[in-house]
Symmetry: D3
Subunit: 245 residues, 6 copies
């Protein structure tokens, strides 16, 4: 029975959402998984509570890397990085032969199959430029038409779920007017709101949920025995040295 870890790269249970949010996410993931899959949730003990900038990505990276051997020794078979910006994806892959799934990468390649050009709806404006750079580094810059933000703080998304859906609808309409035929929810917390289908119904185009897209990518790759390329993600030659800052 394949075991998949959803790794939150920050101390979510110490945030205002509390430990219950971890449980909620575990249950939500379990409800989405194939019966033969086991999904569990882990979190980092340090680092930023939420990632809304490149700087916060940078701070979270060592925790992501150090989680990899721990998750392996716990017996997990694949890891979902719990942040839509895919922080540490390349580094983590260099350290393991397990599939490591970046939600942005999985979501955008799915969207590029459901239509020709996608737009991304994300949380805060500050991440828009880093997402454009991410699209370029994935070679998907010609598939993305527009990236827009609802501009509700991440940790307030859940308490303002109804408003968030309205904001997403408005921004989604703007993205569609710019030529997109498919949308992506560009934030994991947006995904855990379980609103993709509601937004889809309002806007009439596919809305990719990054939680689902990542989970199904991991389950698919495990079932296929697919592994990332050692030529793209070669293991470091030197023993990794922990950082003290």
């Amino acid at each position: 029975m394949p075991r998949i870890a959803y790794f939150v790269p920050g101390p979510l249970s110490s945030s205002i959402l509390g430990p219950r949010e971890l449980d909620r996410r575990r249950s939500y993931l379990a409800s989405l998984a194939f019966p033969e899959t086991e999904v569990d949730v882990r979190e980092a003990t340090g680092g930023p509570e939420s990632i809304e900038s490149v700087a916060e990505e940078c701070l979270a990276m060592p925790a992501i890397l150090s989680a990899i051997p721990e998750l392996e020794s716990e017996g997990f078979d694949a890891v979902l990085i719990g942040c839509f910006d895919d922080p540490g994806l390349g580094g983590a892959r260099e350290l393991t032969r397990m599939p490591v799934i970046g939600p942005a990468q999985a979501s955008c390649h799915l969207a590029a199959q459901l239509g020709d050009r996608f737009g991304i709806l994300t949380v805060v404006e500050e991440v828009i430029p880093l997402l454009y750079r991410l699209m370029r580094s994935y070679g998907l810059q010609n598939h993305v038409t527009d990236i827009r933000a609802v501009d509700v703080p991440v940790l307030k998304l859940e308490s303002q779920k109804k408003d968030v859906l309205d904001h997403l609808t408005l921004e989604g309409q703007a993205v569609l007017a710019a030529g997109a035929d498919t949308l992506i929810l560009g934030g994991m917390t947006l995904g855990f709101l379980d609103i993709a289908k509601s937004l889809e119904a309002r806007l009439g185009v596919p809305v990719v949920d990054p939680v689902l897209a990542s989970l199904k990518a991991a389950e698919g790759q495990l079932a296929m025995g697919a592994r990332h390329s050692l030529r793209a993600y070669p293991p470091p030659r030197k023993k990794l040295v922990p950082v003290a800052v």
Copy 2:
């Protein structure tokens, strides 16, 4: 329980491979599917026995389109197009809300996630230019480094399986030398030889099997409730008229 049809766009059972090949493919697919998935195989009653040119793709297209409503009325939930060139993909999607999976599209987007640049190993040289045009139409031309052929006739692949693996190894080495970090088997019959893992062991890079990649794409999309975009594949306004040639 989701039901997926693998549709061979030609009369495979009348070829030298005979009806047993259909059964073999059905069993192979069943062995790869998640337990909760049912997979069946259907074939066209006319058209070319194998597709090794654009002209043969063109001839197969009406059969692919007319299969769509039949498969729907049989209760299928998704369709895999049984040809790596993805013939009729756009037309079929216009006619249904079921996921229709093109093996090249599913395989190439998977390969682009396992590494940075992929090469394709296909059957006959004649399809190389059409595959390059297909990559361009998918916006993946910058992800593909090289496409090479083993040049064994499709219907002889199975009886010459050992030789085919040797040919694939040689051509794969040439593709890797040109900079690829990931390979794709560019033919469904190559996929049904069940040799991707052997080739992977020989070459040390991921080898995407289009049969597996298509099946897992379909299962994932069904589980997600993902549907192709109506803006990218709008239904025809006019009633479709059958063609008599």
Copy 3:
């Protein structure tokens, strides 16, 4: 004396436009041809009356392929595919050494020489996504700025010619505002309305007529002895098998 066939991939003479429309097109083409060229019109006996979707393209393809040897045996020297989406272009070229002209390909490469960035004005909205994919498969995605539709049914274009010109003017202004410097009429029936010069006068930019662009491409290629590349369009190895659907 070179003989060029304009091949309508559907039973136009059985449509509400009737056999007179075929005659009208023959005369119009004759009036545009160089004196030393003979142009004639042929049509398919089956398939959709007009092509306004990928599905209809697919249905028309076998008729286009089976026309190729017939037109050759009638003594034609080149073929114009009578549909702006260039259905069957690759397949037809694989079957003959005659120039086979796709109107979209000829028009877009001409437009890319008259200016730097072109827009396309087409008939119905449903073909916009397929035209974008076509531009990508031709490697022209960076030359096209916008594609818009007048949304008048193809078979009503002629009876509403005045309105169509007004619609084209409005949509053309929108395309120009988006940065195009050159326009293309993205439909053969639009071309046969003989309105490109009127639109050009209204909008102040070149308006490429696909009928003229295709005809002059064919005449030019015949005069040059230019032939499509066998490496890009290799002849199928196997004898083609007719499809019965």
Copy 4:
């Protein structure tokens, strides 16, 4: 009766080839033109005898510009720039509503229609980088696979015609090995050697002759009434001031 000028941007008749070469080119062009076309040859009275560098292009540009109003007042209807690097193309178009044809632009857009990827065989190595920049400025960088030179001085091409054909064959084979499916003779003097068909026979792929490609582009555009876009080539506001260096 349309009159087309082939304008040599240098004093060819004072070169070692002498005035007979101008006559030879006039006759050759006349033999290629449609019966209803009149072609004549003009040359600049100053500037470099042949153009084999950007610097020489720069020196030739004023002569090209000053020729435009003279050719117009002589009653010409279109101009072919007699150099494959298309020097002065943009400036000349700003000064006239006549079609001004750049041989590289016309040849490359033709080649991109005959196949998917073309290579260029030019005269001297020094022009290779400028041709790559030209391809980029035309947005054709993804269509060109390779540019190679025979490295025979321009003014000796004709006396060494047999050797040149052998060199072109060798270099052409190298370009084809790099993936091209179509070739272009990247020099007007190469075109006037009348060897494209011989090379085509040897190499088995289309070989675009820039003399023919330019002439047929001009005849086609004249017949269509096609004019370059004023938005891409706006006329200068100020009166042009001649340069004395």
Copy 5:
């Protein structure tokens, strides 16, 4: 002590701005240079007073080329081409091993480092298409979002400095709305107005001044001993022949 020449490719001192403008530019450049740099200004004695079209670029080119050996023999170590369109850049580099700086090239590569996507604010609308082609020839077409003009004649910019700043602010806002994160003043006379910092303060994004960008590029390249590539700008084999028009 490195000596840098700012070369105006036209008779600026004979324009309505008079010889004082040359002195003003010399002082302005001196005020911007590092202490160890000497900057002087030279101008062409013929050609257009200002360059606002490709045609005027063409006319200025021979003067630019003939200046190169003169500036070398005067003991200069680097040359700034005094026109944002970089006329004659390639030709000039072929003739010397001194750094020759094109302001557009230096400014755009700087802007691409300060942000992800830049817009250009230029003087007259007529140069917009040539600037887009220039961006393409530099391979920067995906970095530029928009190019807009203030449409004040070059020679009136200085007397209308306050208005120009207001125009630039308005056009700059439009460019930013289209997605740019960085702006470039697309004209040398705009640079010499010394308004980049004022515009930066108004718009909140970096505004690249092409005078400063060119000067610092030259000083940097001289300090590094950087030289343009002989493979990209090979010296002409033949002795250059002056042009008499």
Copy 6:
């Protein structure tokens, strides 16, 4: 007097090269700086001794970020990131208005001005894929032809300087054969070997030294008052939380 910090993102002075290497680099940088610039060297107290993988980049990032406010409070005006892969560049820029220079970014944009297409010679093979992804994220993927490694461990480069130069020569020849016209030394330790000019002499093309390129970029930007765009690198809203791993 502008003060520039060269920040080594690891404990170089504790490596086998020892504290003398820091002094050597300080002196070398001082010898290259303009007289009015002060350059000093700082290093991280933790993290990997050298960076030869994405994983090591990730580990170094928090140290880079935490250095930014410290360097500001020390009175520095600009920072050079002491690693060719530009780790933490985006995050660091979000935290300061000082110029933060990434050596790869500065070197590649310089190389793209000295020629048309550059190649990179780096230290170990493992970084080649990350450098390709970096080029894509900078939008420079079409400017780079090839990246090759000498495969000498970073900390042994200096003791094997003669061999390294020979290796670089061989790999450089291979890169030039693949079409590059300009080379970049893709490692800071390679730059500090002070061998770029020797390699340039051997290979006949410009060789960009990333130490020099970064320093001159910083000095130029400081002199210009150029600042990275707040739209591309917006400051994080939340207070940054240190990470304990």
